[in-house]
């Protein structure tokens, strides 16, 4: 029996094609993936991302302790800012957590710092992948210090809604007043949201309840992600869709949008044993003077990783899929030089696109690459990432 988000009933009543995803009943799509994708690129899409794990971390020493658990620095994270990070831990997922096992990457996550409490308690929200939530929470709980920090999984008592697309904030100062958020937030808050920088976050009130709004997303578009009380989710969703004109979007378009934006997905671009540097995630690890699980292993890889993440575009609409082999020919011989980590038809490019990890040497020799897709070799071109970058208007 899948878990249900506070919006599951709305999805079912509105033609959501429900599937089990990481133990949750979630909509893949309501209409078509392509129309939801393009609707987000051109206007505003709204996504139920309540399946994502939300973990509250609090304590007088919370920043220092979190910094010892994450690959990014935390102590210098200002209040009201979010940061992308990896969570490292040790392998093994069942039974008692062994704190001295082999270091692995448990997940990627966004860590957001909220304002301290009056008594000096530091507060953070960690948003993790649904598929890794239990294991991350178990790991964090297992390595808690004797006092001073608490870890609280608030996933099931809360909801999370992403609102993404150029219509959310528009291009000019007051454009947000035309966007879907106007139907949820009063004018004063709307202006604060419009003033947020990328990866900024605002903790505010909505209908007497606390709500966290972040200028973050997983689509390559401007927009917000809202963490709110489960009881408020349906009302806010309906305001966004029915009054605000935002297009309900499922996990299908969420995946094609994030792929065009070349944003990583755990299980594809990164997994337990991924070298962050060859996965293009060097920016997500701060290793100088740091001490987190696996820092030594990651440190030894810096500068010597022999693989690279690249973007590939196909000539046809046909798409490669995760695990397909990347090849090149030389002197009549075929060589496998890498593999696809994510691939799909791209609604924006109107052809197949893929992220791949390949041996660095093939990039230095400008080899003509091909991908073996279901027994057929398809020519590909290497392109700079991301595949899609939103137009800038400033």
């Amino acid at each position: 029996m899948s878990q249900r988000t506070p919006l599951a009933e709305w999805h079912e009543n509105n033609r959501g094609r429900m599937v089990d995803f990481a133990g949750w009943s979630m909509p893949v799509q309501y209409s078509t993936i392509v129309s939801e994708h393009l609707g987000t690129r051109k206007g505003a899409g709204v996504f139920d991302v309540s399946h994502m794990g939300r973990v509250a971390i609090e304590g007088s020493q919370a920043a220092e302790w979190l910094e010892s658990r994450l690959t990014r620095q935390v102590r210098d994270l200002p209040v009201g800012r979010a940061r992308y990070t990896l969570i490292t831990g040790v392998d093994g997922t069942v039974g008692k957590v062994q704190l001295d096992g082999t270091p692995v990457i448990l997940d990627d996550a966004l860590v957001t710092r909220l304002a301290d409490k009056k008594n000096g308690t530091q507060r953070f929200i960690l948003v993790v992948n649904a598929s890794n939530r239990q294991r991350v929470v178990r790991w964090l709980e297992a390595c808690l210090p004797p006092e001073g920090v608490t870890v609280n999984d608030i996933t099931e008592e809360s909801a999370m809604i992403a609102v993404q697309g150029p219509r959310v904030f528009g291009h000019k100062k007051d454009d947000a007043h035309e966007g879907p958020l106007r139907c949820v937030f009063e004018e004063r808050i709307l202006e604060q949201l419009a003033a947020l920088p990328n990866y900024g976050a605002l903790e505010t009130q909505l209908g007497g309840e606390r709500v966290l709004v972040s200028r973050t997303g997983y689509t390559g578009e401007d927009g917000v992600e809202i963490i709110l009380e489960a009881s408020q989710a349906q009302g806010v969703w309906q305001e966004l869709v029915e009054e605000g004109g935002a297009i309900p979007c499922g996990l299908g378009s969420r995946d094609t949008l994030r792929l065009e934006a070349a944003m990583p997905l755990y299980g594809h671009e990164l997994h337990e044993k991924t070298d962050p540097f060859s996965a293009g995630l060097g920016f997500a690890v701060n290793i100088d003077g740091r001490d987190f699980p696996g820092v030594e292993e990651i440190r030894t890889r810096r500068g010597e990783s022999d693989r690279r993440r690249i973007g590939l575009v196909f000539e046809s609409r046909r798409a490669a899929r995760s695990g397909d082999q990347v090849m090149f020919s030389k002197n009549g011989m075929d060589f496998v030089c890498g593999e696809i980590t994510s691939g799909s038809f791209s609604p924006t490019c109107e052809r197949g696109i893929a992220l791949a990890v390949v041996d660095r040497v093939v990039l230095e020799h400008e080899c003509e690459l091909e991908v073996l897709v279901r027994g057929v070799r398809l020519p590909v071109k290497i392109v700079s990432l991301p595949f899609y970058r939103r137009p800038r208007h400033d």
């Binding site: 799509q29 993936i33 609409r317 279901r374």
Partner: protein, 125 residues
């Protein structure tokens, strides 16, 4: 009844034509379930297809699916306009959205396929 459509469990339809060939397509239900079609691979004319085995592929944004031949025989025509107009599969799945025509080894094979009523029960259940 002889000229009405028959269906495979894998959602292809087959229809016996007056000239003894069998037209093969994809049911409206399957097209609706696939959604977001982006690519189709057809066999060449002259290819031999075998009932229950793959004769082509259809790809949506989410996944690739095999097309299974509902009947064995030789491909005598393929709807080559279809791959560039995949929307026809949804708008006219039993007419201009046909996929291939097969000269069947044995017309009797059609009898092992579902009639409309049986197929409606399958997709309704």
């Amino acid at each position: 009844m002889e000229n009405s459509r028959r269906y495979a469990k894998s959602h292809e339809w087959a229809r016996l034509e007056d000239d003894g060939s069998v037209t093969v397509g994809i049911s409206a239900y399957a097209v609706e379930a696939l959604t977001d079609l982006v690519f189709m691979q057809l066999p060449d004319v002259g290819a031999i297809v075998t009932a229950g085995e793959s004769f082509g592929e259809i790809e949506s944004v989410k996944a690739v699916s095999d097309l299974y031949a509902p009947i064995s025989g030789k491909v005598v025509a393929a709807n080559t306009e279809l791959p560039s107009q995949l929307e026809t599969l949804g708008s006219d799945p039993y007419g201009s959205g046909w996929v291939i025509r097969v000269q069947p080894d044995s017309v009797e094979q059609l009898d092992s396929l579902m009639n409309q009523e049986a197929y409606d029960t399958l997709i309704g259940g």
